[in-house]
Symmetry: C2
Subunit: 394 residues, 2 copies
């Protein structure tokens, strides 16, 4: 029986993790949950799973949940809140495996503390590796515990890497759907609407990650994650556009052999893989190989999608630059969604913010959060400049 | 330093093995060679590699080679001949690794003796697994030594299998180019010329294997090899047509993940893999992933290519049936190449011969050779019947 904690239980990955746990009741026990503000959903989850410990983002929600549980005679379940609450969930002594799926830097501290507490980590939180990857991977190595990626690309890479040793890896090839603007001329990027950008061809995801897929910044983040997770330099990580997203990623070995992984596009599959690794267990998520017909590929156009270049540059420069990249992107994407800037200004804002950030490696999660906050402020200023410019032209 | 013997040194796989050895002089030493009748080529190989032991198919060639070597002051090299000579090469005490690449049942005994002598085997000889697979794999297991497949499909499967455990395998997917008649209507199969059938779309190979690729019998043999090599029932081995032959094969795991292997279509790659396993070493055989564009797939048409069905039936029935399948195919293909029968009669002859063969598992290589010889005779009779029929219509 594997005892699980989920950081971000009401998000998409959190819910998928619970569906996996539900399918294998004799393998997984859900022991602790950390959620955000969706009180109703948390209450349903707690009723179903009866964990020992639950954390809410806000104190008032924690109080409401406590009262709801009391009415049901479930007051033995401990309810905590805030950053300290999430850390308590992440480090809960009864837990073996922590799924890190809180979106944004809010999940950083709890994830880092889970690793420090010797938990096995299933990583779905992008910021953990983009902003604090060196700290987290160094700690996992110190603990001798695996970091298991829960996103389709790095999970695929993890699987392909089993075909050889790390020193036998020539290159990691991340596949990219190419997003909705793969075939749109760059000259039209300035007039892309929010609605167009939110229309991702293969995956249904949250708004920020959908825009990040349209700019290829998401793929840029994945390049950074791959470098950190698999301890390879950026020169060893390449991107290939593969519109069907059937092949989730590939690993090229020094002898010239390439292994590729594919499966249905269902996040429960990488979650199950991470939860059961090094075993594989039977699932109903079957890819019908007989129905396979065409797979298409092309290299990405870095001129058209400068975010990808910015990610390579940031990880090569190291340290604080990738913290700034992530923070500035979040602010720029929000500004685009709010109609404050045009689509093609997203990379310009990020580039400006990253340029003024030190490449000094952050020595603690505290420093990461400080650089993150400064970069957000800088990004907001950049947005403001452009917003003003747009206004003055109007 | 790995010390190598090659059974079939002047054939295509033998020459490729020597090219691999040449590229890594500090890793591989060529200790013993067994060849057929190409005296000139053997002499060149012996001059270059100076092995301890050489075997020729015929006694007269062995004598000629001895005399040539004497003139060069190389009479310390022992020259033997015939089946016993090949066995001597296969069991040479100084040898660690035996490449089994003699075409046809001629290689059976030497290959079996290599396994009995505790050598690690690199298998390129199809008959070893199709005709005598159970004997050879049982002996390898008894010896605790790996059997490493040297053909692109099974080598790919071997690589993909590293992504999990054997009991986690749902299915093995062998890819097939589909041969030159993939899109030809079945109604035209009777008028296929030898020249058309010899025109394979992706691989340059010998005549028999090229015809076997056109009938899909080659893929049928590979299904049987996969069953024997990886100890899986035929229901777990599937074929997918993939005209580009880029992906060499795939393994589907019980969790729904599929791993696929691809590389350049160069036999030196599986040879290098087998020779260095479990290591991988740097090679110049690079597949340019950036140049990847389209991969196409479709399921095979078993009605159009009955040889594939015959192979599944033979391996399911077991034992002598697969010996007969191979023997009858060789005779039928030769008859087609000689203009004695039409292309669409190849499966009919094989089916007739397999039907009258016992499914009793052969208990020794001797029995395999006996069933082989009887099946050839039966196949010649079947050819004769059809030839007569053709003549009487004319």
């Amino acid at each position: 029986m594997k005892r699980i904690a989920i950081l971000g239980s009401t998000g998409s990955i959190g819910c998928s993790t619970l569906r996996v746990a539900e399918a294998y009741p004799d393998r997984f026990e859900v022991v602790a949950l950390a959620a955000g503000n969706n009180l109703n959903m948390v209450f349903e989850q707690v009723k179903q799973w009866q964990p020992r410990l639950v954390s809410m983002a806000k104190e008032e929600d924690a109080e409401k949940l406590r009262s709801l549980l009391r009415q049901r005679g479930m007051s033995a379940i401990e309810v905590v809140f805030g950053a300290a609450g999430a850390v308590k969930v992440a480090t809960c002594p009864e837990v073996d495996f922590v799924v890190s799926a809180i979106v944004g830097v809010a999940g950083l501290e709890a994830t880092y503390e889970a690793v420090r507490a010797g938990k096995i980590l299933g990583l779905a939180n992008k910021e953990c590796l983009v902003a604090a990857g060196d700290l987290i991977t160094a700690e996992a190595r110190r603990q001798g515990k695996p970091l298991l990626p829960i996103d389709s690309e790095h999970n695929a890479v993890h699987q392909c890497l089993r075909g050889g040793r790390m020193e036998e890896v020539e290159r990691i090839w991340l596949t990219a759907s190419g997003g909705p603007f793969l075939n749109k001329p760059q000259s039209e990027f300035g007039s892309i609407t929010v609605e167009q950008a939110l229309n991702h061809p293969t995956w249904k995801m949250g708004k920020r990650i959908t825009i990040d897929s349209a700019t290829l910044m998401n793929k840029g983040f994945e390049v950074i994650e791959a470098c950190r997770l698999f301890h390879v330099p950026p020169a060893k990580v390449e991107v290939m556009v593969h519109p069907q997203s059937t092949i989730h990623s590939m690993v090229e070995f020094v002898d010239g052999s390439i292994l590729a992984q594919f499966s249905v596009t269902d996040m429960r599959l990488p979650i199950l893989y991470a939860l059961t690794y090094p075993e594989r267990i039977e699932s109903d998520m079957r890819f019908s190989v007989s129905d396979l017909r065409h797979l298409d590929f092309c290299p990405p156009d870095v001129n058209k999608f400068p975010c990808l270049r910015l990610a390579y540059e940031a990880v090569a420069a190291g340290g604080g630059k990738t913290v700034a990249l992530n923070a500035a992107d979040e602010v720029a994407v929000a500004a685009f969604l709010d109609g404050k800037i045009t689509f093609d200004e997203i990379p310009n804002i990020i580039e400006a913010v990253v340029a003024r950030t030190s490449s000094q490696p952050p020595e603690s999660i505290g420093t990461v959060l400080k650089v993150d906050s400064e970069s957000r402020q800088a990004a907001r200023e950049e947005v403001q400049k452009r917003k003003r410019r747009v206004t003055s032209f109007a």
